[in-house]
Amino acid sequence: MEKGAVIKYDALKAPRTGNWRYLYPEMKKEKCIGCGRCVSFCPEACIELRKEKGSDNKTVKNKARVDYDFCKGCGVCASVCPVRAIIMKKSE
């Protein structure tokens, strides 16, 4: 134990909690309506909305994207998604 040490947050050292996972959320991009419900309820704050081009290659829409380094596979996102765009699958 260091005396008087200052412990700072370090993104590089942050524990990669993705290794807790035994199920993983598979994102059905074409179904996602970009509502953001999964984003705010995810306990790991590891979902982002990213602007992505649609299949017509013109329209730009918000789509949820998961950072699997931190996702613990709880399935909360899948349970709150209003259009079932997230399916929990046995781990990769």
């Binding site: 134990m1 412990i7 370090d10 942050a14 790991e44 704050a45 349970s79």
Partner: protein, 302 residues
């Protein structure tokens, strides 16, 4: 990771998969418009965010013992006042305390009461998961009637679980005549956001009591905290309301409240209540919920 949501509490913490409080902490702090100093009583949030030699906190953070989170907040606020007066700091930070229900309803209640009465400028947020969860699910004065915990087990003689009613902490805090307090629920984040904004704007003490389901000890599947929490409000078990300068306001009036069984049956801690011998207990619990709701509605209608 999501940069915006990682502003105060970062990914990489070790709360159980599917825990509710990270969303509460991030939603409340997301409304801060000045720098914050976070004070944290012992409990799951503290233990899972400060695993030595790591920290998940990106702002100033102080962990104090169970009894004295509010006393610590009082000290910081007073020190800031003096430093500001002496011109040693140019801006005052907002002090936000987070405590579990054990740390708030029970062990830290005296220091919370003292800080409220002295009128320190701080926000206290209780995430209420209805028990001492970090040490393995002992009952607290926030544990609901009928819940099975490690210290209110079911056995040959004891068929009900906890036999006492929950303490009404909102009324206790309200008795200090503070400017703003509110009850919120993690399932309703827009409502929580609105309340956090109001509470952070108050000069002086403010208090939020936020419903925070615990997958591990309430015994429901990892993915279900939002659904369990929705039912708590839709059955009137956990009404959403605020008390602003003494005036009550119910934020979500449930026109057709669901039977309490719908909330109870989602959780293993209430499983024994569905045995034939506990039929009367369920009826009693429904009466208790309806009675509490009547009292609250009466307060809100004056």
């Amino acid at each position: 990771m999501n940069k915006e949501l990682n502003r105060y509490l970062a990914s990489g913490h070790s709360a159980c998969a599917g825990c509710a409080y990270p969303a509460i902490v991030r939603t409340v702090l997301g409304e801060a418009r000045s720098p914050v100093v976070i004070v944290n009583a012992t409990g799951c949030l503290e233990v899972t965010s400060t695993l030595y030699p790591f920290t998940a906190w990106k702002s100033s953070y102080i962990h104090s013992a169970f009894e004295n989170a509010s006393a610590t907040a009082s000290g910081i606020e007073s020190a800031q006042k003096i430093l500001f007066k002496k011109g040693k700091i140019r801006e005052k930070a907002k002090i936000v305390v987070f405590g579990g229900d054990g740390g708030t309803y029970d062990i830290g209640l005296q220091s919370l009461s003292g800080a409220l009465e002295r009128g320190h400028d701080f926000l206290y947020v209780c995430y209420d998961n209805g028990g001492y969860m970090n040490t393995g699910n002992q009952r607290s004065s926030a544990t609901p009637f009928g819940a099975q915990t490690e210290t209110t087990p079911i056995g040959k003689e004891q068929k009900i679980g906890k036999t006492q009613l929950r303490k009404n902490l909102m009324e206790i805090v309200n008795a200090h005549n503070i400017a703003y307090l509110a009850q919120a629920n993690v399932a309703f984040l827009d409502d929580l956001k609105m309340k956090a904004r109001k509470a952070l704007e108050v000069k002086g003490p403010a208090f939020l009591n936020v419903f925070s389901p615990c997958t591990n000890n309430w015994k429901f599947p990892l993915s279900q905290y939002v659904n369990v929490a929705v039912l708590a409000t839709e059955t009137n078990f956990w009404p959403l309301y605020e008390i602003e300068k003494g005036k009550y306001k119910i934020n979500k009036v449930i026109s057709n409240r669901r039977p309490i069984e719908e909330f109870l049956k989602t959780q293993g801690r209430f499983k024994h209540l569905f045995a034939a011998e506990n039929k009367k207990t369920l009826e009693k619990m429904q009466e208790m919920v309806d009675e509490e709701w009547k009292k609250l509605s009466a307060n809100a209608s004056v």
